[in-house]
Symmetry: C2
Subunit: 276 residues, 2 copies
DNA sequence: GGTGCCAGCTTGTATGAACAAGTGGCCCTC
DNA sequence: GAGGGCCACTTGTTCATACAAGCTGGCACC
């Protein structure tokens, strides 16, 4: 709750955004209401897997909205991978479960809590240093500018499952430095305290062999397989917040992507071993 | 071919559509044209990274289309992760490169060729057998029905980089069985010959240790890390085509996903070691 | 000179209309 | 009975309009 009048509206929006991450509702518009209702109907089996949704005209009559609004609602569900559509044929139910929100994907803690797991975190190292060239490039910062490096270990139900090595941009560092060592969700905390909210993310996923530090922390053998997720997080204005290297113990986490001929969010890239 | 004067202009648009359809590209509609033009402008630096796109009214004036059509175009770019948007502020360029198409993601061969790599494939095993319970579940088939199991090895620039174990649904098997051992792209071939076209996909990505067969084929040590991509492919009608387990040698391939608070296509799931 | 506020710009939501194009089932024919 | 053609239904594309909501920069006031 900021005291400044200017940013009051903004603060309000951010509050709603944060609520969304927690599992609450975002601003209720007509098409979102319809989407939520359809989501519920799909999840509870009113429209079973593989069945066909009512036509757009049916839905627009039932909800007393225009066809355009119905189309926005179903487009939302399609983007979530719940339904598929092709011209001429009624829409088909492809999945029943709702996909995780952006916030849940960006926040390990939120994801774990939503699953009902007991989650713990500990910051092992926290140092301010000059950025390497790669880090500066990723964070879109001046070469040689200062960044905050954080090494963190994460547990699920008492088991160490993930090592996190994050480089925070200089302008974020003060907010992160004042957090306690066992802070469960850094992203949540800096959103609340400093109004630094993640809005976009880019993820690079591959497999690596555990280094000696990884092995010691995760209690696995050296060179055993780890799933690596490097990600870059941006604010709504497109400013880079952090560049992270997360390594999961094999078997603990699976990433899931759904795509279609219409929308292909996943991309395969050549690694260092293959020259493009 | 309508003779009505009223619809003349629109008919013209549609004619363009059909011509482009024959040309190999998917339907060129007005909003797709605009999107492609913007994509090009972004890629070539007319709108540099971080810069702001012209407003919707600018674009609609420039292209002589309604604002709704412009919105469809920019929505397409946003879904590709190229641009971000927030209410009240102009759209921002987030990336310059174009994302791979769905076809390229589903077809290893298409992807490799687009990268300019020399790609080779060899089918090592091809057997018809009854589906396991898991396979039947994934393919949405009767338990105990027949499926086609294919083991394939893939090379990039002469190096073995991927082992592929695919289970094709019974109705697809005949089309796959008649293909040669060194067929480069099975999906392309069955699309052409039997009109079996992939339209949706679901991907599960994690890391595993190389088994002895994996190790022998990929020429790596046993238990060395591999990036595993399991995916399920569907037709436009939602019928399952195949269920695949691809294992890439570490370092050869990286998966990339971009998401935002608006669209979160990527999802993290608990693996077998964590109970949800 | 700095802070606060507002006006104008820009994106988001919603309506209603029209035509194009693909799907699927019915019916008729051979 | 099999095949083809026709037609009603459904989704895709496009237009024009209106108002709501959020952002930005400049102006006025202190």
């Amino acid at each position: 709750m900021s005291g400044r009048t200017v940013t009051e509206e903004r603060t309000c929006t951010q509050r709603i955004l944060r609520m969304d991450g927690r599992g609450g509702r975002v601003g209720a518009t007509r098409y979102r209401e319809i989407a939520e209702s359809l989501r519920h109907a799909i999840r509870t089996g009113t429209y079973p897997l593989g069945s066909r949704l009512p036509s757009e005209s049916d839905l627009s009559a039932r909800w007393e909205v225009s066809r355009g609004t119905v189309r926005q609602a179903v487009a939302l569900l399609a983007s979530e991978g719940l339904i598929g559509s092709r011209q001429g044929a009624r829409r088909v139910v492809l999945r029943q479960e709702r996909r995780q929100s952006f916030q849940q994907l960006n926040s390990f803690a939120q994801w774990a809590q939503a699953m009902g797991c007991e989650v713990a975190s500990r910051i092992l190292t926290r140092t301010v240093r000059t950025a390497t060239d790669e880090e500066a490039g990723r964070l879109d910062a001046e070469p040689g500018s200062e960044v905050l490096y954080v090494l963190r270990l994460r547990w699920l139900d008492g088991e160490p499952v993930m090592v996190e090595r994050t480089v925070y941009a200089g302008w974020v560092a003060p907010a992160v430095l004042e957090l306690p060592e066992d802070c469960v969700s850094i992203m949540d905390s800096i959103a609340e305290r400093a109004d630094i909210v993640a809005h976009y993310g880019e993820h690079l996923i591959d497999a690596v062999a555990a280094g000696s530090e990884d092995a010691r922390l995760l209690r696995v053998r050296r060179a055993s397989p780890l799933l690596r997720q490097r990600h870059l997080t941006y604010t709504a204005a497109g400013r880079a917040i952090e560049w992270t290297d997360d390594r999961y113990r094999a078997g603990s986490v699976v990433f899931n992507v759904m795509n279609s001929a219409g929308a292909a969010p996943l991309e395969r890239r050549a690694g260092p071993d293959v020259r493009g």
